[in-house]
């Protein structure tokens, strides 16, 4: 149970540090041309296949859940 708590806490801190303190990290909205490229988009199929293979070989899975990145339009 204490491992769970510390894991949760670490991630919460990471998340809030990213949001609160890192407003200066990142790029301007018009500088996302490279992020808008097709090969820079998260690929759900690749993620599913990777997860499939890691589960089969190592019985480990989880944690993937990409959101964000990309062109940032609309």
């Amino acid at each position: 149970m204490s491992r769970l708590r510390s894991g949760f806490l670490i991630l919460a801190i990471l998340a809030t540090a990213t949001l609160g303190g890192c407003a200066s990290i990142g790029v301007e909205p018009w500088e996302r041309n490279l992020h808008a490229r097709a090969d820079m988009q998260p690929d759900q199929r690749d993620a599913a296949i990777d997860d499939h293979i890691y589960f089969s070989k190592e019985a480990s899975s989880g944690g993937r859940g990409f959101a964000g990145g990309g062109c940032g339009c609309n």
Binding site: A12, L19, W30, C71, C73
Partner: protein
């Protein structure tokens, strides 16, 4: 349990602060000092910031072409500022989708910074006396009517 409560409240706090991609329309502020705007005083100017890699920009072009044609006589000038880091890509885009309005290039992003562009695409409506009357972030089909109405309202205003 206390640690997880702390984590959850931190997260909720974080979710409630922070900026979204679009800001509410600014009402009545002076436009940035841009020589092009000065030369267009007396006209209603739609300044649109776009880039070739931005999907919604592709969709907004036919609409802006339409607007420029319909309202040019009434004094509407559409100026589309391209923010591509590689101007060649902008030209390729324009070959695919020709623009019937004025294109300006801002590769360094200086003009975008002056206008405080926060999303792609963003458009600004400037009235006949050079004041910014609306700021619109993003482009979706459902925004067209509302934005066109705003433009028509500004066109009805008399020149200074």
């Amino acid at each position: 349990m206390r640690a997880s409560c702390l984590a959850i409240s931190l997260l909720l706090f974080a979710l409630s602060t922070g900026q979204a991609g679009a800001a509410a329309p600014t009402i009545e502020s002076a436009a940035p000092a841009w020589s092009l705007l000065k030369s267009l005083t007396g006209k209603v100017v739609l300044v649109d910031f776009w880039a070739s890699w931005c999907g919604p920009c592709l969709q907004s072009f036919p609409w802006m072409n339409d607007l420029q044609q319909k309202h040019a006589d009434e004094g509407l000038v559409v100026v589309a500022v391209n923010l591509d880091q590689e101007p060649a890509l902008a030209e390729a885009f324009l070959k695919k989708l020709p623009a019937k309005f004025r294109i300006e290039y801002d590769q360094s992003g200086n003009i975008a910074r002056q206008f405080d562009v926060q999303a792609m695409p963003t458009s600004f409506l400037i009235d006949r006396s050079g004041r910014v009357r609306a700021r619109h972030a993003g482009f979706k089909d459902k925004y067209r009517e509302e934005r066109e109405r705003q433009i028509q309202n500004l066109l009805k205003e008399s020149p200074p």
